[in-house]
């Protein structure tokens, strides 16, 4: 049915809701990329087969559906039963008959499939009680994990396109922009530019053609929020874009999807197909006479292609390299036409803002950062995954309450936010509310919402070097400060971690950083020194130790670290087995010894020793003879 009036829209929603009334129990199997990799497709098939075999669907009102990512991939495949809200983790096909017999039929829980709180060690029965979810507020991700992304009816039943209907049936483009303005929404893809300001400029710009783009390039290593949105609720992106197009009066749009996201492309394409048939996209949307259609475009495969001007070049069929133009894309962007580019998450927020009002969104967050923000929480925390929280939540709350604290209850050392060109914040910033300004002030940034937690076994010099290694490969190489600067910066760090640091290195790093920040063509080069400068700012003594004492205080840099076994060794032999270099010797129940000449300083023994009998110390303190026999760093 083509929806061409307010009445028909309401009727379509009622129909979608009615279709679900027969479902006494819904079995939601997460089929996001993470769970798929863990075998959730097989689980979904097993449910479908078992249900059919038992002839349950008709009789009991059972309904299995494949949803998008719940964000808790490390515990996948995840299965949620609705309406009871029971969450099962790490489900395998062999568990399916049990789940049907016990939980669905009799309401009995299966303890071994329940999620166990890593802090209290107690099983948690319901999805909504899991600390990881309990503390979240989901707007951009409002329907992910709840709906079947391949079913428009399911999306409609969960409120999709209500914002679009409200806008097209009852608001002028100016009113739409005003609503978005009052929400305080800022870009979720990088710089945090005020969304309404961009739209206003594009609305005002003269041009026969105007373009509306969605940035789904998501090049930050480890980030997957945009992928989850595009896969799990593609309609939220489409809805936001149609509203945006109406607001700025654009008729053509592109979604630029990272090349490694085939499932996102499939789901977006299917959703667009269904939306077109329903009259929610394409010609004469909702019968209002407004036309807007979207093409999905596969990305160029490089991190830098996510940068605004490079993305537009790539869409134009040229090399995806940044181009400096001293004119806003809202005036001259894609094909030199007025263009609005927003991130996937930004677009996903728009529908909810129109539906609930700008004031509702602005009630959450801090003074200048409103609403909620998605983060990919990874690293040394107990719970990793995708989360969405009100702006202004403290880092401590995120890491300790949602993340469950540091793995192995080790001490916290730093959290890196903002992706590869973000910065590392130390413990003293744990109580900072997370918003655009606070993160920038602290020397980091919001970026796309990456969050990597690090424990005390992290060398901050090595961390900075890790990001430099990523960036040196990903710089497009067009401009000198970024291309040559990153190469030289990495060379300095290669020296630092190898014990070849020299006095004056810190000053050289600072001077080069300033040159890159001021001289580079695009934000990649301008922000590339962030990991360097933030670690220098908060962990300067660690740099000094590398340079002056040739020591790595965290015991990570191999060329600077030696290991030895101390008295408390019980001779269990675990380390002996773990050592890849066969450098450890010792009889059972007797003190073990590390042969310094063979040791490669990998730290494997240190990690496994159950009695903490292994100690690391600066290699420089080794007896000269032993040091020489290693032939290692000079």
């Amino acid at each position: 049915m083509r929806i061409d009036s307010r009445e028909r829209f309401d009727a379509a929603v009622s129909e979608a809701l009615a279709g679900r009334e027969g479902h006494k129990t819904e079995i939601l199997v997460c089929c996001g990329t993470g769970c798929l990799a863990n075998g959730s497709q097989k689980v979904a098939e097993a449910f479908a087969q078992e249900v059919e075999k038992r002839g349950l669907e008709a009789g009991v009102g059972l309904f299995t559906k494949k949803t998008g990512c719940h964000g808790f991939c490390e515990k996948g495949p995840l299965v949620v039963l609705q309406p009871s809200g029971v969450l099962y983790t790490k489900v395998e096909p062999r568990h399916v008959p049990d789940i049907l017999d016990k939980t669905v039929a009799k309401g009995e829980l299966i303890p071994r499939l329940l999620y166990k709180d890593p802090t209290t060690k107690k099983p948690v029965e319901r999805y909504a009680e899991v600390p990881f979810y309990k503390n979240q507020t989901r707007i951009a991700m409002r329907n992910i994990g709840k709906i079947d992304p391949a079913d428009l009816g399911d999306a409609l039943a969960h409120g999709a396109y209500a914002g679009l209907a409200k806008a097209l049936f009852g608001m002028t483009p100016e009113q739409v922009i005003a609503e978005v303005e009052s929400s305080g929404l800022r870009g979720r893809g990088g710089a945090g530019f005020v969304t309404a300001r961009k739209w206003k400029a594009a609305r005002k710009a003269q041009g026969e053609r105007k373009f509306l783009l969605c940035n789904g390039d998501e090049g930050d290593p480890g980030a997957f929020k945009d992928r989850s949105i595009m896969e799990g609720d593609p309609h939220s992106v489409l809805e936001g874009m149609v509203i945006g197009a109406y607001a700025v009066s654009a008729h053509e749009g592109y979604i630029y999807v990272r090349d490694e996201y085939p499932l996102a492309v499939v789901h977006l394409t299917l959703a667009m197909e269904q939306a077109r048939q329903a009259g929610l996209l394409g010609r004469d949307i909702l019968g209002t006479g407004f036309d807007f259609d979207i093409c999905v475009s596969r990305g160029g495969g490089a991190f830098v292609c996510g940068e605004s001007s490079a993305l537009m070049r790539s869409l134009e069929g040229k090399t995806g390299e940044p181009r400096q133009k001293y004119v806003h894309a809202t005036e001259r962007g894609l094909f030199d036409c007025p263009t609005v580019l927003n991130n996937v998450e930004t677009w996903a927020d728009v529908g909810a803002i129109i539906q609930n009002g700008g004031a509702w969104f602005a009630a959450m967050g801090t003074e200048r950062s409103k609403g909620t923000k998605a983060f990919s929480l990874v690293g040394k925390v107990k719970n990793t995954g995708l989360i969405e929280l009100p702006m202004g939540t403290t880092l401590r709350h995120i890491i300790y309450d949602i993340g469950g604290g540091i793995l192995g209850d080790r001490p916290f050392k730093a959290v890196q936010t903002g992706g590869p060109s973000g910065g590392c914040l130390p413990e003293s910033h744990l109580d900072d509310p997370v918003d655009y300004e606070k993160l920038t002030e602290a020397g980091s940034m919001m970026g796309s919402g990456g969050m990597i937690v690090m424990d005390d076994r992290t060398c901050m010099v090595d961390v900075a070097r890790y990001f430099l290694r990523f960036l040196v490969e990903e710089s497009c190489g067009k401009c000198v400060p970024c291309r040559e600067g990153l190469k030289q910066m990495l060379a300095i760090y290669d020296d630092l971690v190898a014990g070849r640091g020299r006095p004056g290195d810190i000053e050289r790093i600072e001077r080069l950083s300033a040159g890159m920040q001021l001289g580079s063509l695009c934000e990649l080069g301008k922000s590339a020194p962030n990991p360097v400068l933030s670690t220098l700012r908060y962990f300067r003594e660690e740099y000094l130790a590398h340079i002056e004492q040739k020591a790595c205080p965290a015991g990570i840099c191999r060329d600077l670290t030696a290991y030895e076994i101390v008295e408390s060794c019980e001779g269990c032999g675990v380390c002996l087995k773990a050592c890849p270099a066969e450098a450890i010797a010792g009889e059972k129940k007797a003190l073990h010894v590390i042969h310094q000449g063979k040791c490669i300083s990998c730290g494997a023994c240190y990690e496994v020793c159950p009695t903490d009998a292994i100690r690391f110390f600066p290699k420089a303190e080794l007896a000269p003879a032993a040091a020489a026999s290693r032939g290692g760093a000079s």
């Binding site: 490089a302 830098v304 090399t319 181009r323 400096q324 133009k325 001293y326 004119v327 040196v472 490969e473 990903e474 710089s475 497009c476 190489g477 067009k478 401009c479 000198v480 400060p481 291309r483 040559e484 600067g485 990153l486 190469k487 030289q488 060379a491 050289r508 001077r511 080069l512 300033a514 040159g515 890159m516 001021l518 001289g519 580079s520 063509l521």
Partner: protein
Amino acid sequence: MITLTVNGKTVRAREGSPLLEAVRAAGALIPTLCQHEALEPWGGCRLCLVDVTRPEWNGWAKMVVSCLYPAEEGLIVQTHTERVVETRKVVLDLLLARCPETPLIQRLAREHGIEKTSYLPNPEPTDCILCGLCTRVCDHIGVFAISSVNRGAGREIAPPFHEAPPDCIGCLACAEVCPTSCIPYETSDARRTIWNKAFEMVRCPRCGKAHITKAQADFYAGRNGVPQSYFETCDACKRQEMAHTFSKLSAGAGGTEMETGKQGNRETGRP
């Protein structure tokens, strides 16, 4: 025309023209390595950085590359503020590390007080500064034979698959535009080679000079729809021929040979 100031000096410029032109008109000396008047500005070398401000910006200034920034009425341009000079030095220092043996870079660095790079000198010295002039001139002609390949530190200029470029017409434009003359080529009456591709030469039917490759003649003919024979005659002979024709024509019309000769010259833009 609009008016702006460069280092305190008032200059007039066409609105929207590259600021670099106004900077040069004001006599300010700033180096550039990736800019060429026949090509679109590119902004890769970052040497033409300047500080710009306006009275209403209350002391705030921004650093821009002048080859790309459009000239605006009332703009106040400073080409040698402390941060601009410092950034330019970092860039030259980095270029010197990349090209430690390249005379042009050595000279520019020295002019900015850098005798020796403060960074790690390239263990495999190259003369290519990756200014992109060669690929851009090739694209500009419409040949697209060479391009920059690889990202980041591995970026280099190369023909497709590092093989003799199938599309190259051997015009030598890339080699001529290269500021460090680092594209090797050989040319003689019989043969020309560039990018490991050998070209047959076309001899001018009038004077016998080998002035163009056969591939060039084919390419120009294909593009302009003019008979190939037109491009086989060298420019000098073509001018002569034209002058001759004109003189015959105008002799009939009562003109003089001298005048028509001038006319012909003006058309080709050559002295």
